[in-house]
């Protein structure tokens, strides 16, 4: 359970920092950089979540489809 809480905090932290970066870059008129930063943050988190969901599916498989 400890790992799960850790990863939630991590995702939240990335979200907050990326949001700040987006605002700062937006304010000085570097809109395209702001969008890239947000996109990369999103992709990174997406990979993390995908690997966790993958773990979950493996577990379900091992519970229901036991050979």
């Amino acid at each position: 359970m400890g790992l799960d809480v850790d990863i939630i905090f991590k995702i939240a932290g990335v979200g907050i920092v990326v949001a700040f970066l987006h605002t700062v870059l937006d304010q000085v008129g570097k809109k395209e950089y702001a969008q890239w930063v947000t996109l990369f943050g999103f992709i990174y988190i997406l990979f993390q979540v995908a690997s966790i969901v993958d773990e979950l599916f493996q577990k379900i498989k091992s519970v229901f489809l036991f050979q």
Binding site: K10, G13, V14, V17, V18, F20, L21, V24, V28, Y44
Partner: protein
């Protein structure tokens, strides 16, 4: 424990980078202003003091503060010690000192062009050239101040936030 120390190092270094970049941005208009006042004093020395160029440069070096005073010092030294033209001495000292200042290529070109006219005309045309150079520098200063207003804060917060992001990604 080791993780915490590493995180501290990362955040200190990125924040420092941000502050250094913002210092560079705020230094440029300041040095441009100094350069302008230096040229104005040079004009006064030429027009009203009738001072020889190496003498005037030496006086300017003692009046100004650090990075620009080096320039006039080396200029005066070259004029007295070596057998060169004013133009060459001016250009060489510009090249030597320019890396130590926060000034950019545009100002370098302006100053180089000014050096080509220095000491080749009578006093009144010389004054006109100085005024022309001052106008160019004025424009550069406005540009530099514009950039400072726009980017100084951004660079600072960008450094800190990048450090924070890096730490979160690495933990």
């Amino acid at each position: 424990m080791i993780k915490l120390i590493g995180a501290m190092f990362i955040i200190i270094s990125t924040t420092w980078t941000g502050f250094e970049a913002s210092r560079h941005l705020s230094e440029r208009p300041k040095q441009l202003r100094q350069l302008k006042s230096a040229l104005q004093s040079l004009e006064a020395e030429i027009m009203y003091g009738h001072t020889p160029l190496h003498e005037a440069a030496r006086r300017l070096a003692s009046q100004l503060s650090k990075p620009l005073s080096w320039f006039f010092e080396s200029f005066a030294k070259k004029l007295t010690d070596t057998e060169t033209t004013v133009k060459d001495a001016w250009e060489l000292s510009l090249k030597e000192v320019w890396k130590l200042t926060a000034l950019k290529q545009a100002e370098f070109e302006v100053m180089k062009q000014f050096g080509e006219t220095l000491g080749r005309h009578d006093r009144h045309s010389q004054q006109k050239h100085i005024i022309l150079t001052l106008t160019h520098l004025e424009r550069e200063e406005a540009d530099a101040r514009d950039k400072q207003d726009k980017y100084e804060k951004m660079v600072k917060s960008l450094g800190f936030l990048t450090g924070l992001l890096l730490i979160i990604l690495l933990i």
